[in-house]
């Protein structure tokens, strides 16, 4: 099979799995997860083949795998869609396929496959556990998810969306995959739709990202109009970019390229949960944990960054290497601001998944900021390492929650929130695999030096910001990185270290292999993936392994980015923020037992800077008012229908007048009834003539005949 054909085939197994499960196998849980996991494995296999073929190609950037076909007739031309695997695509495909496969596998255990059916479980709510009798003793064990098959169907659809996005060679199919993932995130966040919080979170996620999407759609329309194509390779030719870069638009003095890039970037802001559209992601934690991992760590939010990566040449048109263009400044600002802003909120969260959610927002901010200052390779690098360790952390947190739920079922005290970190503590002994892998993930997130992948990628971003003199970005990101390490250590300390703070934590249990195996695999990559991108000039390690990643991914761009000169300031900074953050985190929380002892439970942070409330006041409430009161009640029912009804009333009024003052008296009474009356009078008086006697009639007829005849004779003939 040619590589191109194989690329076309990559997204297919998951979508087939979706249709198979929905249409045929939804009754059988085992069959459904076999199909789902099998499809993910197939796609993973195909992706690996493609990836290894791709890295074997010299100058893949100039000669990527691509293939396209005519899709839409538009006037005299066609809109083509197709697939493209260039170095960035290959690199992204690598981590996407692995994480998706791992998450599929993890879901089997997470949804308690093999466990009995729940006592009171209903579709739409998380399973509540089942009572079983063992050795004459009743006890409660986790029960299987009632909508087990459906979950794998949704995951399949989601995987299809992600693969489509990654392999597409044009913005349109990228957008298609993008939106399908949006739908799936809606469906999966609202998977337990019976919980009001879940269904609201689902709608919030969909609507918030849709705000970005409509701008993105505008951007796509603009780009398509301006260039006549949506294919990346055709847009990113020198002359097209030049034309776009020199065409000015009336908005903020941006060039066409800048405006399009910004419009598309707004889509990313929504999808990657950047400020100010970040509000949906923490709420999205209502979904099952594999979903959080999949959507909010490894794939969907990465898709936002991926889109900017794809649009990088457009964003950096006119960029001379030092002075940021307007568009780039906006991107850099939003990225850096989000990184810091989200990190501050993460510090004050108690829900284990919410911490990770804000951490994700923050880390995505790092990537966006990197792209904003032109650090292309660093952004891609961080995207990939982050995907590995954040997926690991999410899955790990899921494992923790799962273990805690086991404890909750054991004690039967459903008051205890299995996600609240203050209910945990000391889990390192109960759940060793989860602990160690979580620790690796957490260290990677914090950027623990040398060992972890997170260090290398984050360091590269900082170095880039410093090296090109973007000091504001550098300082912001450094502070954010410090806080990252801090809240990560806070999380690890509260969760795993110390002693169990509740009975439930004491009875927590390690999770089955389908859940721990993915943790181990991801932990492996969370460590090793950093080593493919060690800068050549790095002290001690530089040069030991060639900086393959930089070479490979950098090749995507027409202008190969220069490797950065080594500078000791960013290295020291990143060493300090990572280790310092971890240390202070441990120091501050090693003895904390209750939220009250936590000095960082500052209301403004805990309430996420009141963004939800502000949006509710500024947008949601007015939208309700506008829809229900203004448009429906006031405008349609009031004004428009009012005018119509007035027409009706006026017409009726005129009709009444005409009826009462003309029709009734004149036409009816006088002409109508009058004629009838007259006729009746005449008739009544003529009636006696009708004797019924033929001879009288005849006589009368003759009289008249004679009179008339005589008259005629004398008057006319004579």
């Amino acid at each position: 099979m040619t590589t191109e054909t194989l690329i076309w085939l990559i997204p297919l197994p998951p979508i087939l799995a979706f249709f198979l499960i929905v249409l045929f196998t939804n009754k059988s849980k085992a069959l459904s997860h076999t199909i789902g996991v099998g499809a993910a494995a197939l796609s993973w296999l195909a992706s690996m083949v493609v990836f290894f073929r791709a890295i074997g190609v010299e100058h893949l950037g100039e000669h990527p795998f691509e293939s396209s076909l005519n899709w839409l007739p538009t006037g005299d031309t066609f809109l083509k869609i197709g697939v493209l695997i260039d170095p960035v695509g290959a690199a992204v495909l690598f981590f996407v396929s692995i994480t998706i496969f791992m998450i599929f596998l993890y879901s089997v255990g997470y949804h308690n496959f093999g466990q009995p059916k729940g006592d009171h479980d209903v579709a739409g709510l998380p399973p509540h556990g089942a009572t079983v009798e063992e050795h004459g003793r009743k006890h409660v064990v986790p029960s299987i998810e009632p909508m087990y098959s459906r979950f794998f169907a949704f995951l399949g659809l989601f995987a299809f969306g992600m693969y489509t996005l990654v392999v597409s060679d044009n913005l349109l199919t990228l957008f298609v995959g993008w939106e399908i993932m949006g739908l799936c995130s809606y469906l999966l966040i609202g998977f337990w739709y019976g919980k009001p919080s879940a269904r609201n979170a689902a709608i919030k996620a969909f609507m918030t990202t849709r705000v970005g999407d409509v701008f993105m759609l505008l951007g796509i329309a603009f780009l398509y109009w301006a260039t006549g194509t949506l294919s990346f390779r055709e847009i990113f030719t020198e002359e097209t970019l030049h034309i776009l870069g020199t065409t000015m638009t009336p908005i903020f003095g941006l060039s066409a390229a800048g405006l399009i890039a910004l419009l598309l970037f707004i889509g990313t802001v929504g999808k990657s949960a950047q400020w100010p559209l970040h509000v949906w992601l923490p709420d999205a934690m209502e979904g099952p944990t594999p979903v959080s991992a999949m959507i909010h760590a490894a794939t969907m939010v990465s898709a936002g960054v991926y889109a900017v990566i794809r649009m990088f040449p457009l964003l950096t048109t006119d960029f001379n290497g030092h002075e940021l263009t307007t568009a780039m400044s906006v991107v850099a600002f939003i990225g850096a601001f989000t990184a810091l802003f989200a990190a501050t909120i993460a510090v004050a969260q108690n829900d284990i998944k919410r911490v990770l959610a804000y951490s994700t927002i923050s880390q995505l901010g790092f990537m966006i900021a990197a792209l904003g200052i032109g650090a292309y390779v660093a952004a891609v690098f961080h995207l990939i390492t982050h995907a590995f360790f954040k997926a690991l952390l999410f899955l790990g947190s899921g494992s923790v929650i799962h273990g805690m739920e086991h404890g909750v079922l054991h004690t039967g005290n459903h008051e205890t929130d299995p996600q609240n970190m203050f209910n945990m503590g000391g889990l390192r002994n109960k759940m060793p695999i989860t602990f160690w892998t979580f620790l690796i993930g957490g260290f990677a997130l914090s950027g623990f030096p040398i060992l972890t992948a997170g260090f290398w990628s984050k360091d590269e971003i900082l170095a880039d910001a410093f090296g090109h003199g973007h000091m504001a970005v550098f300082i912001t990101l450094a502070v954010a990185a410090f806080m990252t390490a801090f809240y990560t250590m806070r999380q690890i300390t509260l969760t795993f270290l110390g002693e169990p703070r509740t009975k439930e934590a004491e009875h927590a249990q390690e999770t089955p292999w389908t859940m721990t195996a993915p943790l181990v695999v991801l932990a492996f990559f969370a460590v090793t993936y950093g080593w493919v991108g060690i800068p050549e000039h790095f002290p001690l390690f530089g040069g030991l392994v060639p900086n393959w990643f930089h070479e490979f991914v950098g090749g995507t761009l027409a202008e190969h980015p220069e490797a950065l000169e080594f500078n000791v300031v960013p290295l020291l900074t990143s060493l300090f923020v990572a280790l310092g953050g971890l240390f202070f985190g441990w120091l501050a929380y090693r003895n904390v037992q209750t939220p009250a002892e936590d000095k960082f439970q500052i209301p403004v942070l805990k309430n996420k800077w009141y963004f939800d409330e502000a949006y509710d006041f500024l947008f949601v409430k007015p939208a309700y008012w506008f829809s229900e009161t203004f448009v429906s009640a006031w405008m349609d029912k009031g004004v428009i229908d009012g005018i119509l009804h007035t027409f009706g009333k006026v017409t009726q009024f005129l009709g009444d007048i005409i009826r009462n003052y003309f029709d009734l008296p004149v036409i009816n009474r006088f002409f109508g009834d009058g004629t009838a009356d007259a006729t009746q009078w005449v008739g009544r008086n003529l009636r006696p003539i009708q004797t019924g006697r033929v001879q009288q009639y005849f006589m009368l007829a003759l009289v008249i005949f004679i009179v008339v005849g005589a008259a005629l004779y004398y008057l006319l003939l004579a």
Partner: protein, 169 residues
């Protein structure tokens, strides 16, 4: 005054006189018999007009069939042997007035018409009036169709009379 004129006047007087008796006599049987006389007079008039066939038909059909039919009808509809009550309306004078008026009107028209005083031309020699009449009635170029229609009319009258007079009890 020629002999023909004298004959005509006598016949006319008889005819009109008997006709007057038809409409005035109280006894309907008598009236029917007076009708026979009238019809006979008219038959003579036909003869005077050289319409021999008509004269014969007049005698055969009218007197032989119709008048007899009247007599039967009168006898069938009598409640008792005698006639009772007046035979004319109270306002018979109106009818008389109208009859006189129509007579005067018609006479005036006849006398006012110049063609009314002309004499009849002599019949061509060897003129066969009956043969001509027969041909006219049977020739497709002349009156065969009305003739046939008349026969249909008679048939219809026959059926109709039977139907109407039939006693359904």
């Amino acid at each position: 005054m020629t002999a023909e004129q004298i004959v005509f006047l006598i016949v006319a007087l008889v005819t009109l006189g008997s006709a007057f008796m038809v409409v005035t006599t109280r006894n309907l049987i008598h009236a029917a018999l007076w009708l026979v006389a009238t019809l006979f007079g008219v038959a003579v008039v036909y003869a005077l007009l050289n319409a021999g066939f008509l004269a014969v038909v007049q005698v055969v059909v009218y007197i032989g069939a119709i008048a007899i039919l009247f007599i039967f009808a009168v006898m069938l509809t009598r409640k008792d042997a005698r006639d009772s009550g007046p035979q004319t309306h109270k306002n018979w004078w109106v009818g008389a007035l109208l009859a006189v008026a129509s007579y005067l009107g018609l006479s005036a028209l006849v006398l006012g018409w110049s063609g009314s005083s002309k004499a009849a031309a002599g019949l061509p020699s060897g003129f066969d009036a009956v043969g001509q009449l027969g041909e006219a009635l049977t020739s497709p170029n002349a009156y065969v169709l009305p003739f046939e229609v008349a026969s249909v009319l008679l048939l219809a009258a026959l059926v109709g009379a039977v139907y109407v007079a039939f006693n359904r009890k």
